[in-house]
């Protein structure tokens, strides 16, 4: 369909998302709402990566680090709240209006520090150094024995407490995720269309020329990197609340790879694509083994990645701009 249909498509998608818990319940599979919550959360992370990857040309291979920081902020404060112990002389808390912004701000801060270092490099070196720093954070959280180390940390106190909203109700939590996804998507759309967004895209296309036009390129890249880190942090905050459990796995490099694949699979530089990519990735991951199981193909049930991998490669090879490119034609055929 023509690219002009993207907006109606998104509105239809939103209506579907709003109606979804009722549909799931009618189908007698309320658990499915929880699966979609997870898709929405990873969609936020994937959109945030797309902002720097698709618009800024920064291939960050360590994006899960900021997801992890956001998630651990929630889990650690919850741990101290449940434990009654103090953290830096302050009590733990489950109060969402404090915990959630703190998770986002600390993720942004981590992105500021790591971005300031990583953005001194570019190209393959940038990919490797973002990966290296993310792995350092991974091992940092592995080493925190008090917070479960390798085994991770259960949030015994349950999800964060929000005034007037019962987050422990899965359907309510689902709608909170929908709201954050919509909010973050709209925010990124605005950013991409703004003066800042045009500068960012200029940097991706021709960094040298941007400098010669008088743009301090480094500052703009770093600002975008921090926004993306904050977005991933928000996803991490929601993810910890969703599973009521965090472990260093959240910021393992393979998780960074998953988010990267979601963006590529859905369509780089489209913002809409990463939502589709998150849905396709997580649904295939969850249901490919089930489908092979139903078909009594036991070998493939255990080794479903043998099918999953080539599927991803084929989509990336044959569909420019991934799933987004399959759905929407470009009007002027420029590349």
């Amino acid at each position: 369909m023509p690219a002009a249909y993207e907006k109606p498509f998104l509105i239809a998608g939103l209506i579907l998302l709003i109606a979804f818990p009722y549909i799931a319940e009618a189908l007698g599979n309320a658990y499915f709402t929880s699966t979609v919550s997870r898709i929405l959360i990873f969609a936020i992370a994937a959109i945030s990566l797309d902002l720097i990857l698709g618009y800024g040309g920064m291939v960050s291979f360590g994006h899960a680090a900021y997801l992890g920081v956001g998630a651990y902020v929630v889990a650690i404060l919850s741990f101290h709240f449940y434990d009654g112990s103090a953290l830096f002389g302050l009590p733990g808390t489950e109060f969402a209006p404090i915990v959630w912004p703190l998770g986002v701000v600390l993720s942004a801060l981590a992105a500021l520090v790591l971005g300031a270092l990583c953005l001194r490099t570019s190209g393959i070196y940038f990919i490797m150094i973002t990966l290296a720093f993310a792995q350092m954070l991974f091992f940092f959280f592995v080493s925190l024995q008090r917070y479960g180390g390798d085994d991770g940390l259960f949030m015994f106190a349950g999800r964060s407490h929000m005034p007037f909203i019962d987050l422990d109700d899965d359907t309510t939590f689902y709608y909170v995720c929908v709201a954050f996804l919509v909010g973050f998507y709209v925010l990124c759309r605005a950013i991409v269309a703004s003066r800042f967004g045009r500068v960012l895209q200029g940097i991706r296309q021709n960094e040298r020329r941007m400098t010669m036009l008088g743009y301090p390129v480094y500052r703009y890249k770093l600002a975008a990197f921090v926004i993306a880190g904050a977005g991933a942090g928000l996803a991490g905050v929601l993810l910890a609340n969703h599973t009521k459990f965090v472990s260093p796995d959240i910021l393992h490099w393979t998780k960074s790879g998953d988010i990267l694949i979601m963006v590529i699979l859905g369509g780089i530089g489209t913002l809409t694509g990463p939502i589709l990519g998150s849905a396709a990735f997580l649904l295939l991951e969850e249901y490919l083994p089930v489908i092979f199981g139903d078909l009594s193909m036991d070998l493939l049930k255990d080794h479903w990645r043998i099918v999953f991998g080539p599927m991803l490669i084929l989509i990336v090879l044959f569909a420019r701009r991934g799933l987004y490119g399959m759905l929407f034609r470009r009007e002027n055929g420029d590349g």
Partner: protein, 252 residues
Amino acid sequence: MAETPLLRIEGLAKSFGALRATDDLSLDVAEGEIHALIGPNGAGKTTLVNQLSGELAPDAGRIVFDGRDITRIRAHERPHLGLVRSFQITSIFPEFTTLENVALSAQSRTGHSFHFFWPVAGDENLNDIARQTLSSVGLEADAGRPAHALSHGQQRRLELAMALVLKPRLLLLDEPMAGMGPDESAFVVDVLSNLRGTVTMLLIEHDMDAVFALADRITVLVYGRPIASGTPEAIRSDPAVREAYLGDEEAA
């Protein structure tokens, strides 16, 4: 010339290994003049421009612009002082439209770009400035086309427009006519001619018709150092220049 020059280069040096690309080069460009820099391939012309624009750090020497030592000023700050360059190899934003290319350039002149919310496409102030500049290089009809779809000559003119919209005081033009046909070349000579007196130019160009049509002064660069500098007439009759560079092609 009694008044202080707009650009003064003093003892500039830059080596790549054993190659002295810029060799103790001193040069003045007076306010308002079109100063052409010619020389055979490998004479170090682009290396000089890269040092003036701040992309390459010189090994020695000083660059003084408008009375201020800018040798250590960073590249992205120089356009804001009025020192703007264009590229020999077209350097545009291929995915943006022609208008967006120039609007992005104009945006650099209007303060910082940490504006995250208002859509820039609807900024008619920027678009108007961009359209005016595009019409000055004859590209107004192509404003909506993606830049990668333009012909080579059109891209060269877009390249020029992106530099002009920054309202330079000194324009460093690195072969603006490179690869252009005679008609387009003549058109660009006209455009640059019309800017005479308002914009000072340091023009690197191989097209000798263009150089002699435009230049108030010509400096001949060979092996990274000037061997002659003077009016077009003086350069044309300078025996050393004829031997080193103009050779047989200049029969006059």
